[in-house]
Amino acid sequence: MSRTQLTASQLLDQLHRGEVTAEAVADDFLRAIGDRNTLLQAFLHVDEDDILQQARQVDTRRRRSEPLGPLAGLPVAIKDVICTKGQPTTAGSKILANFRPPYDAHVVERLRAADAILLGKTNCDEFAMGSSNENSAYGPARNPWDPSRIPGGSSGGSAVAVAACLAPLALGTDTGGSVRQPAALCGIVGLKPSYGRVSRYGVLAYGSSLDQVGPMSHDVRDCALLLEAIAGHDPRDATCVDHPVPRYAQRLDEPFASLTIGLPREFFAEGLSSEVEQAVRAAVEVYRGHGATIREVSLPHSKYALATYYLVATAEASSNLARYDGAHFGHRSTDHRGLIDMYCKSRGQGFGAEVKRRVMLGTYALSSGYRDAYYLKALKVRRLIRDDFDRAFAECDVLLGPTSPTVAFSLGERVSDPLAMYLADIYTISGNLAGLCGISIPCGFSASGLPIGLQLLAAPLEEEKLLRVARLYERATDWHLRRPSLPS
């Protein structure tokens, strides 16, 4: 087994015991990227010299027996909507083609403090808007299980990086499912933390009341390790809660005295592929076999979640993306008549089709005469969606269902039909609207060999329980051990 196929925990053990240097690990992953990135397009930017230098510094400090952070020497790939000081941060957009931020995002500071190696910036849908990675201005990342298929989105590059063993860990962002859905479609683990668990400082904003940075990994233990490193209070994000961060990885294997798992009826309704349903139902039986109580619950307002999401998220996006104005950073049209025209042309040239669509929809939903009917109405329905979850969590520890209604679809299949594309997030978006934490873990494969993801949702700030429940399943199964076979 090649070293790049190991989990982050296994690599950490080897690094810690001195069996391998950080430089050798970085070198292995750089070589894998060199071999496969042309096909998979997982990375948009890899600064080899900078990466090797980070790794050598960790090795030097280890040789001198200096204290090292918990992720010392471990490469982590970063979604390209997360600011990295002096390194390109394009958000998958032409408008930021040459942008290098003057500061690090909070999560990047945390990774540096943990002595992780920042491995490069991963491909994504433009400004994290999309479910297939096809909205990247730099071309889509491809699914390593079948490169003719989409990897999911918007954190598609991060999911591919981990699944194809180009990085042991990656950060994504999740506004409506953008960590969990690509994790499911690429056969890895992806966690969306509760709203407020992780600071959004330095993360290019899409929907500010929904966005969270989340870890992506081969297994639940690695996911817990990375979450531990990035979670916690940061006064620069006023919505980041001041709440202690548990040692998630330490308690993973603790048994449950009792465990009640809710199956939302609405997550098993029309539109769910039968292969996905079978795999998820089989996972339910694994939990039942381990003594969990299974209970059917109802989230009656689920069917309104997609409409609610596309009003709330786009309204916030239309406001957040106003900063890309050709004045402060990014693309400026050279040919214009005055200031307003400069704004309009720079944005018209710099943004891709989906970003334009969402900015337009959000502008409409907030415009005079329509704000109450659309935006305010959506916020009220959002309350009803949250209330449904509160009732469910009063009687269940976690909720269980599919992450995505289908396995990975083919490139190009849905690009001309935005509504069909939006349906890919149907099971994940309500978790963002309600501020829950959620995780996708591998739970099987379709007949055509494509991964299937199981979604678990828990109440806000219940990540510790969520991870333990996920780990319980993982211990009983071996889906998470599979790696795609790629032409080398």
Partner: protein
Amino acid sequence: MSGQTLTLDEVRWIAHLARLELSEAELEMMTRQLGAIVEYVAQLQTLDTEGVEPLAHALPVSNVFRDDVPGEPLPVDQAVAAAPDRRVTPRGERFFAVPAVLE
């Protein structure tokens, strides 16, 4: 509300509000696609939300205060470094440069 679709002129107006220059072809496609999405989201109108408090975000957190202490700001030269056009005055002050706001 249901069944209402957008006209080309409305879409043109929204594009203006959003400060987006769109080609005629884009405007036409946007009219079609936004119309379909607006029709879809209009299903919310069927739901009775009388007396429901809007939920702006999921945390029971509001009015987060911090001590009013001066911090370390981003140095001006770094703040303007990524600007497409910037100027330095003879006294060394650095600015973002934009087309004339008032003609």
